[in-house]
């Protein structure tokens, strides 16, 4: 790990100003992803700004009938929050499907959104990776790609966004709230938060330099069965090959987003009208234009079947 200086700011705006002003400074919250990457020298910050003490750790009701989740609320606490369990079950289920008990106790809401890809070529510093080292190429495209993206990727990068929580937040139409170095605030729909790689895969999100996530807000609860179904190589503690976050009403209508298939949680609202017709009608539209590799073409059929299982569960 490279050496770094460390500080605890006294306010979110001060934290943002510090990171904006210092080259190579980074926020640290739970640290479970950042420290892992620092040990491998994939991330090499020279200054860490610890945002744990800023009071961003509460879940509060909003005047609109939704919830405002502080950026520093731990995954365990969010999954166990009584309001989340009752009204946003898909979010609890997604959180509980991710990582391990120890990691969920540290990992935060904002940090989870900022989790970097788990592409094995991003992690292997001996391999070319445009996300890790812009312009170096992509070893994954012609490499072992069974875990990687089937849609939304580019010639420069086929990495996936690895998380579960954000897939549920996408189907819940969540909004990310931020503060910048000047104290200005911004609201970013979660749909616009993660970027597609294009020719700049090193930039994961639409956050600006020094911009700090302060909260994620959820609108009023959507009535229906809240289901998160994750398919992975083992029964627990593994990243999704494919996941489905869904809210399905009694009449078979609803909303659905997919994880493990793209550089961001993948939702095509225009396909949701076909939910009463069954899984294939939906996934044909959701994955129109997909460019799978030889290794990961299985994900298209798996996504259809996983959605089929979700729709069966919703009818049961």
């Amino acid at each position: 790990m490279k050496s770094f200086t460390y500080e605890r700011p006294s306010s979110p705006a001060e934290a943002a100003a510090t990171v904006a002003a210092k080259p190579n400074a980074k926020f640290i919250a739970g640290g479970t992803n950042l420290l892992d990457l620092m040990k491998l020298q994939i991330e090499t910050p020279t200054h860490l700004v610890d945002v744990n003490g800023l009071g961003l750790d509460k879940v509060e009701a909003t005047p609109e009938g939704g919830l405002r989740i502080g950026a520093l609320v731990r995954n365990t606490d969010l999954a166990a929050d009584a309001r989340v369990r009752k009204d946003y079950g898909v979010l609890s289920r997604a959180l509980l499907a991710g990582a391990s008990g120890q990691l969920r106790n540290k990992a935060t809401t904002a940090g989870n959104l900022l989790q970097r890809t788990r592409c094995p070529y991003f992690y292997d510093t001996a391999q070319a990776c445009n996300k890790r080292q812009p312009g170096s190429g992509c070893s994954a495209i012609d490499g072992v790609s069974r875990q990687l993206a089937v849609i939304g990727a580019s010639e420069a990068c086929i990495a996936t966004y690895p998380g579960d929580m954000a897939v549920a937040m996408r189907v819940l139409d969540a909004t990310v709230e931020t503060v910048d170095a000047k104290g200005g605030t911004r609201k970013i729909p979660v749909a616009d938060f993660h970027r597609l790689p294009g020719d700049r895969p090193e930039v994961d999100t639409t956050l600006r330099a020094g911009e700090l996530i302060t909260a994620v807000t959820l609108p009023k609860p959507v009535v229906g069965r809240h289901i998160y179904r994750k398919v992975r190589d083992r029964a627990s503690y593994a990243y999704a090959l494919v996941s489905v976050a869904a809210i399905i009403g009694k009449d078979g209508t609803g909303h659905v987003a997919f994880g493990g298939v793209a550089p961001r949680p993948w939702r095509i609202e225009a396909a949701e009208g076909d939910l009463p017709k069954g899984a294939k009608a939906v996934t044909d539209k959701v994955f129109a234009g997909a460019k799978p590799t030889h290794d990961n073409a299985y994900k298209l059929k798996l996504a259809e079947r996983t959605l089929g299982a979700v729709l069966s569960e919703a009818r049961a």
Partner: protein, 211 residues
């Protein structure tokens, strides 16, 4: 020339000695090692409570909680397995929550209360979970055991405090101490010897006794 005392060096001392020798080669002279340029260590003072005892430390900011406890406080119960949060051998209970101590910086735990396997119990005064692991043969080589035991203690507390899991049938509870619940909640602790079924029996027994 070696004195008899030198021959009593244990493996840990030898490894530590070799590391010091390597560091001396890389950084001739102490002034260089203490410099504050981009390559230099940044030292910081901090304090925390470990197993009920207040400890003051001066640490390189890079020091993980695991390394602070093992290498600076010489409590070597918690183990460094993967050092990347994948195996759970480093599990400690910090402010009542189990965490991977390898994936958190010591400086981020100013004034926190840390519980390691040494604080749970000791020979002659074992924690019920330690006694149950012995009774049920919940280990072979023992390397993962301190992490398994700390995790097992925390799992029972998590179930009792109403934290659901991936396998809980109803998010709103009640949550039972079933084999499926224990296996899911313990999935962050790997045992390469494969003592899992006995670990589940040990945790089940302790949970039953506390019910």
């Amino acid at each position: 020339m070696q004195s008899p005392g030198d021959l009593e060096l244990n493996r840990r001392d030898l490894v530590a000695g070799a590391s010091v020798a390597a560091a001396a080669t890389a950084f001739p002279g102490s002034a260089r090692a203490q410099s504050t340029d981009a390559e230099g260590a940044v030292l910081t003072k901090m304090s925390l409570t470990v197993n009920g005892e207040r400890r003051e430390l001066e640490l390189d900011t890079r020091t993980t909680l695991l390394d602070a406890v093992r290498e600076h406080l010489h409590l070597t119960g918690a183990k460094k397995g993967c050092d990347h949060g994948q195996c759970g051998a480093c599990t400690m209970i910090v402010d009542g929550r189990r965490i991977n101590s390898c994936l958190t910086l010591a400086v981020m735990h100013q004034n926190d209360a840390v519980m390691t396997i040494e604080g749970l119990g000791k020979p002659g005064d074992l924690h019920p979970m330690q006694a149950a692991f012995i009774k049920h043969d919940g280990y072979q080589c023992g390397f993962c055991t301190p992490g398994q035991i700390c995790s097992g203690v925390a799992v029972i507390a998590e179930i009792r405090s109403g934290i659901p899991s991936h396998v809980s049938a109803d998010l709103n509870g009640p949550y039972e101490v079933t084999d499926a619940e224990i296996r899911e909640r313990m999935s962050g602790n790997i045992c390469r010897c494969g003592a899992y079924s006995n670990i589940v029996e040990a945790i089940t027994e302790v949970a039953g006794r506390q019910a």
